[in-house]
């Protein structure tokens, strides 16, 4: 039980990679407060599943772009559970379009959710973690920040900014034993990638040396490592989890 009695917060926790993260952290003994936006049913189902497995997860509906709502949620959590040991900023969206067609709303919404949401939660937990003299912040990035496909300028910008924020925050909080890292997944089998995967089909396996899509749990395992005591001297890093996709190899 690597996270016994620790308190974790996971944003975007009700589905996809976030859901796998909630399950993985809870399985290691953490009490997990997760945040969701739309899918009430998925949130309740996740709470139930964690409880069935003998753990505890509680979902709150919070709009990560709303600073006041985020502050209120974190304050309430600190009041009830006393501390926050791990923060996973996983909430993220895509609004793909070719740049010259990309409308302003698509640009702003992606930046506000992905980068803004990460910023709001980091801001809310930074001082509590500082005073605890221990903390783990894990931001969800993407290989899209460095390995860019057409149609994702807004998404790539938001993830690139998250990488830089990760490094900057790592420097500021390091002396208080708070590590800040990011995980950059490649192609993972979730709702978010469904449309792209339908179009690309087998081509994906051609470009991924490991010849398979990633599963949410593949990413959750790495998040778990970063949340654990094993990564105590590792900070400011972006760990790519992509089955070798970003190495650029193309099989015949």
């Amino acid at each position: 039980m690597r996270l016994k009695d620790q308190i974790a917060v996971v944003t975007g926790g009700s589905r996809g990679i976030g859901r796998a993260i909630v399950l993985a952290l809870a399985a290691e003994g953490a009490r997990v407060a997760f945040v969701y936006h739309g899918n009430e049913e998925a949130a309740r189902s996740l709470e139930h599943q964690v409880k069935e497995n003998g753990g505890l997860a509680a979902g709150s509906k919070v709009d990560v772009t709303d600073a006041k709502a985020v502050d209120a949620m974190v304050e309430k959590l600190l009041g009830e559970w006393g501390r926050i040991d791990v923060l996973v900023n996983n909430a993220g969206i895509i609004r793909d379009d070719l740049f010259v067609r990309l409308d302003e709303e698509a640009w702003t919404t992606v930046l506000n959710t992905n980068l803004g949401g990460t910023y709001h939660f980091c801001r809310a937990v930074a001082y509590p973690m500082m005073t605890q003299r221990r903390g783990r912040i894990i931001n969800m990035s993407s290989i899209a920040a460095e390995h860019c496909n057409p149609g994702q300028a807004n998404y790539a910008a938001s993830k690139g900014a998250i990488n830089a924020l990760t490094r900057a925050l790592a420097v500021e909080l390091a002396s208080r034993n708070v590590t800040v890292n990011a995980v950059a997944p490649g192609f993972i089998e979730t709702d978010m990638t469904a449309a792209v995967r339908n179009k690309a089909g087998d081509l994906i396996k051609k470009y991924v040396p490991m010849r398979r899509l990633g599963q949410p749990d593949d990413v959750a395992r790495v998040v778990l490592f970063l949340a654990s005591a094993d990564s105590g001297y590792l900070t400011g890093q972006v760990l790519t989890v992509d089955g070798g996709l970003s190495l650029g190899a193309i099989s015949a």
Partner: protein
């Protein structure tokens, strides 16, 4: 109104928490940076904790005046604090003991002004104000 000893004791306890040092390490003349190992992030924490402990508001730059350290050429030249800078320090930090510093006003020595005693006097001054906050 607490007396100076009572204030000193509370300030000391606050620094123990903020800087993770032992009580025995703290003397009235202990400098925050040199003796107690404080970094910039710690100065922030100290301000927050003092506000909470004493129920006061410490406006930004009032306890630890940032302008002198930002390298403003009116205040700092060739690594020394200018006469204008000294006047600024005197005005902004009436609670600090500048007698030694004035003799050799090296910028690098400014941090020696921040002692436990200095904070105690600052707090005393704040609490004595009719509308201390």
């Amino acid at each position: 109104m607490p007396n100076q000893d009572e204030i000193y004791t509370k300030v000391s306890a606050t620094l123990v928490e903020a800087l993770n040092v032992d009580e025995e390490e703290i003397r009235p003349t202990s400098t925050l940076q040199g003796d107690l190992g404080a970094e910039s992030i710690d100065f922030l924490d100290i301000v927050f904790r003092l506000e909470r402990e004493f129920g006061i508001k410490i406006p930004r730059g009032e306890l630890f005046p940032e302008s002198i350290f930002s390298g403003d050429p009116d205040f700092v030249q060739d690594g020394k604090v200018t006469d204008q800078g000294l006047a600024e320090l005197r005005e902004r930090m009436p609670f600090a003991d500048l007698s030694r510093f004035e003799k050799n006003p090296e910028v690098s020595a400014i941090s020696d002004l921040f002692t436990v005693d200095m904070i105690t006097r600052y707090i005393q001054g704040k609490l004595a104000q009719p509308n201390g906050n």
